[in-house]
């Protein structure tokens, strides 16, 4: 079983990398980009028996820094 963990900066936390990407997109002539926030995607290949709460535990203990980041877990069944 695979799971994807999406890690994003909490709203209100300044994202200098997102800002730089935003400026670069504007520099390439893409208008209408209101904001850019950069995050991380972590793919986990897990034992079938892994519970949701175990994955959440992994996020809280290591994958995300919950002081500044949010996480969202997506289980990919049959993957």
């Amino acid at each position: 079983m695979k799971a994807r963990v999406f890690i994003t900066l909490k709203s209100g936390v300044l994202d200098p990398q997102g800002k730089a990407i935003h400026h670069a997109l504007e520099g390439l002539g893409f208008s209408g980009v209101n904001d850019v926030r950069a995050g991380k995607l972590i793919e986990l290949d897990l034992a079938e028996t892994t519970s949701d709460s175990e994955i959440e535990d992994m996020c809280r203990k290591l994958l995300a820094n919950t002081v500044i980041e949010n996480f969202r877990i997506e289980r990919l069944e049959n993957a």
């Binding site: 936390v13 200098p16 990398q17 500044i68």
Partner: protein
Amino acid sequence: MKSAVIVFPGSNCDRDLAVALEQVTGRKPEMVWHKEAELPLGIDFIGIPGGFSYGDYLRSGAMAARSPVMGAVKDAASRGVPVIGICNGFQVLTETGLLPGALMRNAGLSFVCRGVRLKVENSQSLFTSGYHSGEEIVFPVAHHDGNYQADEGTLDRLEGEGRVAFRYLEECNGSARDIAGILNDAGNVLGLMPHPERVIEPAHGGDDGRRLFEGLLETIAA
């Protein structure tokens, strides 16, 4: 004073810190590898050095914060043993939860590497007794992720409790309220981005950092 310097794969200021400690205390520190689950007996002081532990993978300091030795460092800190985290060491301390907040990518996105002017905000701590409050000093910085951020409530608490030890006197990395170094609530854990261990004798281009270690030694010996 018997000190320990924690060494992670990717630490690169461990020797500088060891030299500073040896010069000031007259005794070589114990170098403790990150896989050790216990510290040597009778350690009076723990230093977590700068560098790029685990290549800054995931987040700066994130992997190091979960290594076996940090359990022992946390125990020692809770018993009141003074702990200093410099640069990557500061990042490790926030990742372990020993200090509040987080160190994010510099607001200007560039790696900053230069001497910066700092103000000593609190000279009453274990680590800053060698300075006067309000004194201006210069320490070098060398980091990419030194942008200190915490929620407003935490920042207000740090200020109100005199836990901002050092503040930048010039734009450096975008840190909230120009915070360069903070103390834990008990006052025995200090994290700072600038490097006092790199300025301990005039040949380094300055010796403002020496008094941090001298003050600490005096307080611990007293």
